[in-house]
């Protein structure tokens, strides 16, 4: 729903609350619902998105150290920029880094700060799979999934405009966004990340099956410690794999470029 649609809905709910006050609780519920919708209307500029994203990126880098391997970082950036160049958001500069942890996961902070763990790189078998994972994260940034989670949060209750997001309020917003990332985005956001990720990776020229083959491999490692966080924060692999195959078929995505050898030379 666009911004005007949400505004109309919020006003409608408010007027409904005033016109049919069946119970006091009903009125309160409607007012709360209207306030929640109104909060999602708060515009957040790209500059503010990057400022918030920078704080979340610092928190991610605080949980897991960022790799200082320049050759590996360069390779991950090249693959990431290849898929990000298919992104329709010209206002974002994408940056990619590797986290030194055996945990298998990837994170996308607002504003284009994207991380992938050494654990994930260890399970990935070729460049098309890496492209699929990074493209999924680019999809999260493009759709502002974390920013939208922040907008819906209680942290934003006292924020009247984006200029209020500074100092301790900025810290709270960063905390909310970081928690959203580590606890997992909604199922809908993850599936949307998949839908966009497969399109970006395929448009860049990679085998569109990359993301699906990686997710399917993770399923075979279910129950292992490093993968547990991934399973706790993402939809079930079989559902994701099924949807990804359906998208590839529907969109007639065809390429067989996997670049397994270049991946092995660059990562292992």
């Amino acid at each position: 729903m666009n911004r005007h649609g949400r505004l109309v809905m919020a006003l409608g709910l408010l007027s409904g609350a005033a016109a049919t006050p069946s119970t006091a609780q009903g009125v309160l519920d409607r007012l709360r619902q209207a306030a929640n919708i109104a909060r999602t209307l708060l515009p957040i500029s790209t500059d503010k998105e990057v400022e918030i994203g920078r704080g979340i990126a610092a928190t991610i880098a605080g949980r897991f150290p960022v790799s200082s391997d320049a050759a590996l970082t360069r390779y991950v950036n090249l693959v990431g920029l290849t898929v990000a160049s298919q992104s329709p958001r010209p206002d974002i500069t994408y940056r990619f880094a590797v986290l030194e942890t055996p945990t298998v996961n990837a994170y996308a902070a607002p504003g284009g700060y994207i991380f992938i763990t050494k654990g994930a790189l260890g399970l990935i078998e070729n460049e098309a799979e890496l492209a699929g994972v990074l493209a999924h994260e680019v999809g999260h940034v493009n759709q502002r999934h974390v920013i939208n989670q922040i907008r819906k949060s209680d942290t934003m209750r006292e924020v009247r405009n984006q200029l209020d997001i500074k100092g301790s309020t900025l810290d709270k917003v960063v905390g909310t966004g970081s928690n959203a990332l580590f606890m997992g985005l909604s199922r809908g956001d993850e599936l949307e990340g998949d839908s966009l990720g497969i399109l970006y990776a395929a448009a860049a020229g990679y085998d569109p099956g990359g993301l699906a083959s990686f997710v399917a491999r993770l399923d075979r490692h279910a129950g292992e410690g490093p993968v547990s966080e991934f399973f706790a924060t993402h939809p079930k692999p079989d559902e994701r794999v099924g949807r990804l195959h359906a998208i590839a078929q529907r969109e007639d995505l065809r390429s067989s470029v996997t670049l397994a050898e270049r991946y092995r030379e660059s990562v292992h």
Partner: protein
């Protein structure tokens, strides 16, 4: 039929027509990138003849909403980096060179004598792109020799601001639309980076419970300084046979005009 019903139907018809027109306008919008090569090899700041070799000389990012269009042109003078962008804004085949200070018609500008720049005007009178949507385009001279090779890739679902296709817009000469290359982004986001002020949090929630963290802003600064240039990215794509560099990609031949 009651008068109210007639008015209602008319309004519905107008709304439907407006929606169709808006949809068509969106459908006509296009964004693509041309990477231009010439035969030869970079040596000492110029391209010298070299058999079986091509040298990247230019990257052009196009944004089009016919009849208007915009081209951000970045030339290379060493084969390793791209220079500051030249911005052309056009309507049909007419173009102006736009800077932060103002605009000058291309035909009155020194760039009009640069064949690589004039060749960047790949539009017909109606502002529609001439030539294929994507792939490899080889342009040959009258004697059959290869003049330029253009690798064109299209961007899905463009979301640029149409105001930046207007040469009268004050921001048009200062704002860059091209994305995906760190060299461009570093210039654009410097002010944001300088003012970033989150102190961060000392604990975060994870599926394993609350864990302590010490935000590492220095690591993020290193991330921001880590630049991968546009030329390096093109070499990476070319080496991997990705996008328009795929070996099976069709070569349309001819001149894309």
């Amino acid at each position: 039929m009651r008068r109210g019903a007639v008015i209602g139907r008319a309004l519905l018809l107008v709304a439907a027509s407006a929606a169709v027109a808006a949809g068509e306008a969106r459908a006509q919008r296009a964004q693509w990138t041309d990477v231009v090569y010439v035969p030869g090899q970079w040596s000492g700041g110029r391209v010298v003849a070299q058999a079986d070799s091509i040298a990247m000389v230019m990257r052009i990012d196009y944004f089009s909403a016919p009849p208007k269009w915009r081209a951000e042109i970045r030339r290379s003078s060493d084969g390793r980096t791209l220079g500051e962008p030249v911005i052309l804004i056009g309507q049909g085949r007419r173009a102006v060179v736009v800077t932060a200070l103002g605009s000058t018609p291309l035909e009155q500008h020194a760039l009009a004598r640069d064949p690589l720049v004039t060749a960047a005007v790949v539009f017909d009178q109606s502002g529609r792109r001439a030539g294929p949507a994507s792939g490899r385009i080889t342009e040959r001279s009258a004697d059959g020799r290869v003049g330029r090779i253009v690798f064109r890739r299209v961007i899905r679902n463009p979301s640029f601001d149409n105001k930046l296709l207007d040469p009268g817009n004050r921001a048009a000469g200062r704002t860059l639309l091209a994305s995906g290359i760190a060299a461009v982004g570093d210039q654009r986001s410097a002010s944001v980076v300088a003012t970033a002020g989150a102190r961060g949090v000392d604990r975060v929630q994870t599926p394993q419970g609350s864990v302590p963290v010490t935000p590492d802003t220095a690591a993020v600064s290193r991330m921001e300084r880590f630049a991968v240039g546009a030329v390096a990215l093109e070499e990476f794509l070319r080496a991997g046979g990705l996008g328009p560099y795929a070996p099976a990609h069709s070569d349309s031949g001819g001149k894309p005009q």
